[in-house]
Symmetry: C2
Subunit: 155 residues, 2 copies
């Protein structure tokens, strides 16, 4: 998918497809802002506390990393699409700390596609998403399914 996808429907996904989501610089300011609102633990709020923890520096909340990925997916895949939300996350691993100043790159692998039996105007796209830092270390991996309407569907 070399172009910005527009108006994606269930039928536009296929097993084996790889979707590049671009990259994102993570600043100390946004780490602290997110943590202040949602995850006020010392190692997400303060550089010294981060260094003293097993995270090794001012580290983004794992939920913040999820939200950064969500925004990249929204911008590159879901924008203008027939996406209908997601039932959950099958597995999520925070593999390495995300530290202030890191640049994250993300990619989606489409694992499978299937039309809902109970609701045939909707299909499930199963995907595995990965994020790396600028040192090539994988920082997060998650597997989940997203619901899309079929282009011909009447949901």
């Amino acid at each position: 998918m070399s172009e910005q996808p527009q108006g994606l429907a269930f039928e536009d996904f296929a097993e084996g497809m790889v979707i590049e989501l671009g990259d994102k610089l993570v600043t100390a300011e946004e780490i602290i802002e997110f943590a202040s609102e949602f995850d006020p633990q010392p190692f997400h709020l303060d550089e010294q506390a981060g260094r003293a923890s097993i995270l090794g520096g001012l580290a983004a909340s794992g939920w913040h990393t999820c939200c950064m990925l969500m925004r990249m997916v929204a911008d590159k895949v879901l924008n203008g699409s027939l996406a209908q939300g997601a039932p959950g996350i099958d597995e999520l691993r925070w593999l390495k700390p995300v530290l202030a100043g890191d640049t994250l790159t993300a990619r989606i692998h489409v694992l499978s596609t299937r039309v809902s039996r109970s609701r045939p105007s909707i299909g499930f796209i199963a995907m595995r998403s990965e994020m790396w830092n600028q040192r090539g270390e994988r920082v997060m991996e998650q597997s989940n399914s997203v619901m899309f309407r079929l282009r011909g569907g009447s949901a």
Copy 2:
């Protein structure tokens, strides 16, 4: 745990423990603010678009619900504790839409505790967290482990 826990360490958790996290009103304003930053899909941004979707109204991003739970856990359990972050989420289900005006109640069940073999100053607390709305419907369930230092540990 009837009191606000202070300074919890690994040793303070035990299988079968239930931790009540209180409740949280979800406003349209905060649903839209979160979605604008992290999950700008129409049904998270606009009441009419929400009604037209399978969510049935202006609905919080699932990640927003996770973040609301995270904040409740931070305030009631992690504040001042020896928590050292979490390696991931084993499973997460968004069971019902969270709509503007809902009041969510949350609870943690401690499933098991174990000291790390490779790092004996740290232990893993496996937990299942649940959130309900004011109609008693479960809206989210997640299972994960959180790392805590042992009180005697020297991590």
